[in-house]
């Protein structure tokens, strides 16, 4: 139990009296692939939004690597080590693929370069820029977008846009990667490829991944542990097989 990277205690949020999420307790271990599933409206994306600082929770706390990050801003949380992708893709559409990744690398300490360095074009600017590009190419290689690096991101096909989002999140060098429906809209081949990529990310970057997904094959084939949500509360928790076969869960999904 020493290696818990993310822990939530009693997490809850309500909007105008409506409880969207309540009493969610998660414990995610290092290098785990963790799944968050549940029917539409169960509050999964809301939990992502709380974890990344988009919303402040009404109750409960979030700990990252033992540190309380509840209510911090998105930027701070990202710097502490949580990166995410979005359910409705949010790329920087007017930028090339590699630029999207370069934006992700922006705040990495090894690429520090002040406004003054850049405005006066001091040597540091050029050095950093070169190093950033090398690193960006490296990340693009991992997700398999090296070839398309000079395409405008809005011109990429859907599946590749999702991969680019992952690459951009990876570039911020997180401890924990949140993927919001990464396989949505992908065909079986692409899904299979994505599974390989996610695994590779875990192994190559020592990453922990928390993902939301509706594709149960994807979840059960990939995730070590799963939490099932319904109406904002935890319905079941455990290994993928345990949780997904829980009678409550089946009822919630089939609507029995």
């Amino acid at each position: 139990m020493a290696d818990i990277i993310l822990k939530t205690e009693n997490l809850g949020i309500s909007f105008g009296g409506l409880k969207a999420v309540s009493e969610v307790n998660l414990e995610i271990k290092k290098k785990q692939l963790y799944g968050l599933v549940g029917p539409n409206g169960a509050g999964k994306t809301t939990i992502f939004n709380i974890l990344t600082g988009v919303y402040k929770p009404t109750t409960g706390k979030v700990f990252l690597d033992g540190e309380d990050i509840t209510g911090k801003t998105q930027m701070v949380i990202n710097h502490k080590g949580i990166a995410r992708t979005f359910q409705n893709i949010r790329l920087f559409n007017n930028m090339t693929v590699i630029r999207n990744v370069l934006v992700g690398l922006h705040d990495q300490p090894e690429f520090k370069c002040s406004l003054i360095d850049s405005m006066l074009r001091l040597p540091r600017h050029f050095k950093v820029e070169k190093a950033m590009r090398a690193k960006a190419k490296e990340i693009l290689r991992v997700v398999g977008l090296e070839e398309e690096r000079n395409f405008l991101s809005c011109n990429l096909p859907y599946g590749k846009q999702r991969k680019l989002e992952i690459a951009r999140a990876l570039a911020t060098n997180p401890k924990l990667l949140l993927l919001d429906e990464p396989a949505a809209g992908m065909n079986p081949n692409e899904t299979a490829e994505l599974m390989t990529i996610v695994r590779r990310i875990r192994d190559e970057f020592d990453m922990t991944v928390l993902l939301i997904e509706h594709d149960m094959k994807f979840v059960s084939g990939l995730c070590d542990e799963v939490t099932v949500l319904n109406f904002g509360t935890v319905l079941a928790q455990g290994t993928a097989e345990q949780a997904l076969n829980d009678p409550e869960v089946i009822r919630a999904y089939i609507g029995g």
């Binding site: 994306t45 939004n49 988009v54 979005f86 409705n88």
Partner: protein
């Protein structure tokens, strides 16, 4: 007593702003554009009243002619200048609107000359109750504005066209799919907005008979400010914002020390309100989905 008079004055200034702001807000809500030429439609309305008054001498007829003409003008501006740009960047539309504003102003000067016209719409006198003196025009302005606002609210809420307007403002694409003729709705909106501008021109001339080609410029900006204060896109917001602006204006003009800063104070009110409520007093906050 003086305070009540000032307050009433503020109300009547404010209700004129509100009527102009309604035009801004509706066009904004539906066409998603800042119609910077809206103020100049007021001016055109003023000149129509002037022409009719000079010819026939009946202010009510003048108002009717002005409303008709402005409606036609509003529709034509929309068709010629804005419609080709539907789907283009909102900034391009903004710049075109500015172009239209210059165009209207300079055309008015070419046609009517540079000298401001004196248009005395009607000599109504004052209502005196005890020591309270209220000019009748204020009461007429107030009364008409209230009727306009009520009618408009009811129209938008209960008629088919009105509901279609709300639908278009919510989601143009979806409205189209539901069989609403979006182009027609936008045209109707411009027609209503421009008609209201003619009314505003009438109120302004009743209050102060001076008519020049820059008549609508500053009131236009102030009414836009009022629409934003109230929450742009909101019909009651336009009324609240307009009246607030009017009262602030009237009050600050009575204090000699701050009177020269009146415009600045009105704009300051805007900034303060927006900092407290970023989408205006009655504006809907639409959070972007994450």
């Amino acid at each position: 007593m003086e305070f009540i008079e000032t307050l009433l004055n503020g109300l009547s200034i404010g209700s004129t702003y509100a009527v102009i702001a309604l035009g801004y807000t509706m066009v904004y809500g539906i066409a998603k554009m800042l119609n910077f030429a809206h103020g100049d439609v007021i001016m055109v309305g003023g000149y129509m009243i002037y022409l009719t008054m000079a010819g026939i001498g009946n202010p009510i007829l003048g108002l009717a002619v002005a409303v008709l003409f402005c409606v036609v003008l509003g529709i034509s501006i929309e068709k010629v200048a804005y419609k080709p740009l539907r789907g283009a960047s909102p900034l391009a539309v903004l710049i075109t609107a500015i172009g239209v504003s210059y165009l209207l102003q300079s055309t008015a000067q070419i046609i009517f000359g540079s000298a401001p016209k004196m248009v005395i719409v009607a000599d109504l006198g004052n209502l005196t109750i005890g020591s309270l003196t209220v000019p009748y025009y204020m009461l007429i302005t107030l009364g008409c504005s209230v009727v306009i606002m009520l009618t408009l609210s009811l129209f938008v809420k209960y008629t088919k066209t009105g509901r279609a307007m709300i639908a278009v403002s919510e989601d143009k694409g979806a409205a189209q799919l539901m069989g609403i003729n979006v182009n027609a709705i936008i045209t109707i909106t411009f027609a209503i907005g421009s008609g209201l501008a003619a009314f505003a021109g009438f109120f302004m001339l009743m209050k102060s008979p001076s008519l020049s080609n820059t008549l609508g410029a500053m009131p236009g900006i102030k009414a836009f400010t009022a629409a934003v204060i109230g929450g742009i896109g909101s019909i009651p917001g336009a009324m609240v914002g307009g009246i607030l602006m009017g009262i602030v204006e009237a009050l600050s003009l009575t204090v000699p020390a701050i009177a020269p800063y009146t415009d600045a104070i009105e704009f300051l009110v805007l900034i303060v309100i927006l900092l407290v409520r970023p989408s205006g007093i009655l504006g809907k906050v639409r959070r972007e989905k994450v």
